[in-house]
């Protein structure tokens, strides 16, 4: 879960060491913070686990998740760790294989959001003036458009795919991050190191993305994670109600089959519960990461080391 935007050293070796050193220090600091903050540690543990399952899980699944058997709605047994659904399909292998789709789309949408919000936020905050005005209006307009209803309607016109939903959720979720980043950039624009970079004739895009951006990684990470949770829930929610692509395997589609098959009312908890719990768990892991980042960014939220002895301006 740690952020390492393509090792900066490979990008431009000759450039001033300032930002690469800063980024290096930042990464070292992030590492120590990951191990220092309990929430971040637990959160990255959970998210890391699901990522591993998404990547390697399907390799270890022995049963074809789509294969119909005659064990209809069978409770958990050694043969079927989490039982089967009404088609006799193995719930456990569906759960493992479905991780990839659920997690993958969330991350993709999170990345899209990150890209849009960083670009709009930084550009708008850095340049100010007319560009800022225009972007601010766009940001504020998008901020009030609810994503789920739009996604539902979009699904009706375009194809019923996870892609459509993820895209819509991404397109409606960037404004929050953009707004926060804009405010940060605005306040950072007048700091000394930016003035110094400008005076030394550094190119604007370099200032924006290599001087300012590294200082806002915590906000960017927070908006990435928030969107990831949103997409996870939005996609699963829509798939739950049957707006998904029935040919794929994902947690939401599993829930849909449990919903339409009245799994709960047959008492088949093993069919209905696991995907929901996985979604909540993964969401909790991401949320923990977010809370941890909040604590890192605002030390007052930490229980330790509150209100150090104060006093201004040293003598001598």
């Amino acid at each position: 879960m740690r952020q390492s935007p393509a090792s900066p050293a490979t990008f431009d070796r000759a450039a001033q060491p300032a930002w690469s050193a800063r980024l290096g220090a930042l990464l070292r600091r992030s590492w120590s913070l990951v191990t220092l903050n309990r929430k971040v540690m637990l959160g990255s543990g959970i998210v890391g686990f699901f990522i591993l399952v998404a990547i390697f899980g399907p390799l270890f699944v022995t049963q074809d998740p789509l294969k119909y058997t005659y064990d209809l709605v069978a409770p958990p047994s050694p043969a079927h760790l989490l039982g089967t659904n009404q088609g006799g399909q193995d719930v456990f292998s569906q759960l493992v294989v479905g991780t990839r789709s659920s997690l993958g789309w969330s991350f993709v949408a999170g990345l899209i959001v990150m890209a849009i919000s960083v670009t709009i936020g930084l550009v708008s905050g850095y340049f100010g003036g007319f560009i800022d005005d225009v972007f601010s209006v766009i940001t504020n307009v998008f901020l009030v458009i609810p994503s789920l209803p739009l996604a539902i309607v979009a699904v009706q016109y375009f194809n019923r795919s996870t892609f459509t939903v993820a895209l819509v959720v991404a397109l409606t979720n960037w404004p929050w991050g953009a707004r926060v980043l804009r405010a940060q950039t605005l306040s950072m624009r007048s700091r000394e190191f930016i003035t110094a970079a400008k005076a030394s004739g550094e190119r604007t895009w370099r200032i924006i993305f290599f001087e300012i951006f590294p200082n806002q990684i915590s906000i960017v990470a927070a908006s990435f994670i928030t969107t990831t949770i949103q997409v996870l829930l939005a996609v699963a929610g829509l798939e739950f109600l049957g707006f998904g692509d029935q040919a794929t395997i994902s947690w939401g589609i599993m829930l849909n089959s449990a919903y339409t098959g009245s799994a709960l009312f047959q008492g088949a908890w093993w069919w209905f519960a696991p995907p929901g719990i996985c979604i909540a768990l993964l969401g909790s892991g991401l949320a923990l990461l977010n809370f941890g980042i909040d604590e890192i960014a605002d030390p007052r939220l930490r229980l330790k080391a509150r209100r150090a002895p104060r006093g201004k301006a040293a003598t001598a």
């Binding site: 080391a305 150090a308 002895p309 104060r310 006093g311 201004k312 301006a313 003598t315 001598a316």
Partner: protein, 434 residues
């Protein structure tokens, strides 16, 4: 300005902060006595523990701080406020440059005493402080001394230890006996509440018998007292200038005419001109209202103009304490000298200015012996081995100092001020020539 009777006696106070990477001994074994009407200045570099001391006295320390030792005896509880027992100040002096007080037209209103104040005295003296419906500065609002039958001030009821009060008693004592003005009024004033409400809040909590109109009048009066137009009662903090905000904070502090006010760097966040205005205001108010003041600052030069007594803190301890005049003429502790010369004094006299080399020590692991030894130009062998304690020096003056240089058994002849100056100069030259 001070009279002899003690008001607050802080004894062997220690405050620790518990953090993951060790315990910070922010204040260690601090003792001092504050007298009625006295201005005690506490000076030191940032991180020396002076703000922690202020928070400890006001019982505002955060959850991670712990008062590990000491007591704070308060002698004022249940006794009449000095104002009431003093000659009534002349009206002209009171109203200097202010609008006429409405208190004049108001009849005296008697209010119930704060029954839950820790007062063993049942002689009815308490009533005198509560008796003033107005601010207590207008002549008619002041009860005459004779009517009160106030006894000699030195003989009071038994003191209470502020640290051992029940929450209820502490809440009653707060602000009515001990108020605080914070460094930045912008942060200390509630941004979503008008100045008036913030003053009246205090009155509502501590003077429940006052009516709404009375509270309103008194709040207006308080603003006038600190030189703000009463219309500003309806203003929010962000609508006031920095100086006005700090004045408003002082007005809130004065709301109950507490015998003690603590000011934690009250002028640091202001520009020099406003800073001067506020300082004058504070001195003037003290002369009118006779509260005792603990003034905390990193700027020793302010204290030279303001304070009656000055305590110098270093690494959580008081290293020197004395009357302002004595400390100014003869700073005994090398650190005091260094601090004194770190600022150009406003009263003239050109000093050669040398900074104190080095940085304050890590309070998690204070150095052995004197905490200042590695920055001290006059350190000798005993300084690294033995902790100096605060002791009177020389006997003739008011000063106490915690330095082995003044211990005849360790150091034969104590240095003169000129010698300390010379040692700093030598140190500075040594640094530049290297």
């Amino acid at each position: 300005m001070t009279d002899a009777s003690p008001l607050l006696d802080v004894r062997h106070l220690s405050v620790d902060y518990h953090s993951d990477n060790g315990t910070v001994h922010a204040v260690t074994d601090v003792s001092f006595t504050l007298h009625r009407g006295e201005i005690l200045g506490i000076a030191g570099e940032s991180g020396c523990g002076k703000s922690t001391l202020a928070y400890a006295i006001t019982q505002l320390l955060g959850p991670l701080a712990e008062i590990s030792a000491g007591e704070m005896l308060y002698y004022g509880a249940g006794r009449p406020h000095p104002v009431a027992s003093r000659e009534p100040c002349s009206p002209s002096a009171m109203e200097r440059g202010r609008a006429a007080s409405k208190a004049d037209q108001r009849e005296q209103r008697t209010q119930p005493a704060l029954s839950d104040l820790p007062s063993p005295s049942a002689d009815g003296e308490q009533g005198s402080r509560e008796a003033t419906g107005g601010l207590g500065v207008g002549p008619s609002a002041l009860p005459s001394p004779s009517a009160d039958g106030v006894g000699p001030l030195g003989v009071g009821p038994a003191p209470v230890d502020i640290l051992r009060l029940s929450p209820r008693r502490l809440r009653a004592l707060r602000w009515s006996e001990l108020a605080i003005v914070f460094q930045s009024a912008m942060n200390a004033l509630n941004p979503v509440m008008t100045i008036g409400t913030q003053i009246m809040d205090v009155l509502r909590a501590h003077r429940p018998a006052m009516t709404r109109a009375q509270r309103q009048d008194r709040a207006a009066e308080l603003l006038r007292l600190v030189g703000i137009a009463p219309e500003r009662l309806k203003s929010y903090p962000h609508e006031l200038s920095g100086g006005m905000r700090q004045r408003a904070a002082i007005a809130i502090a004065l709301a109950l005419l507490p015998p003690i006010i603590i000011m934690d760097e009250p002028t640091t966040a202001l520009d020099v001109v406003v800073q001067r205005e506020i300082l004058n205001e504070i001195v003037q108010l003290r002369d009118q209202l006779h509260f005792a003041l603990i003034f905390i600052t990193h700027d020793l030069s302010l204290l030279l103009e303001l304070a009656d007594t000055i305590a110098i803190m270093y690494a959580g301890r008081i290293v020197e304490q004395g009357a302002q005049r004595d400390l100014y003429r003869h700073p005994r502790h090398p650190y005091s000298y260094g601090l004194l010369n770190a600022f150009p004094t406003l009263t003239g006299e050109q000093h050669a200015m040398y900074g104190i080399p080095g940085t304050p020590p890590d309070l998690r692991q204070p150095p052995a012996g004197c905490a200042f030894h590695d920055r001290c130009p006059l350190a000798f062998s005993a300084c690294t081995a033995k902790l100096p304690v605060l002791q009177p020096w020389p006997v003739a003056t008011t000063q106490t100092v915690a330095c082995h240089l003044y211990n005849p058994r360790l150091h034969a002849t104590p240095p003169t001020t000129a010698e300390i100056a010379a040692s700093y100069a030598a140190l500075a030259e040594g640094r530049t020539s290297r």
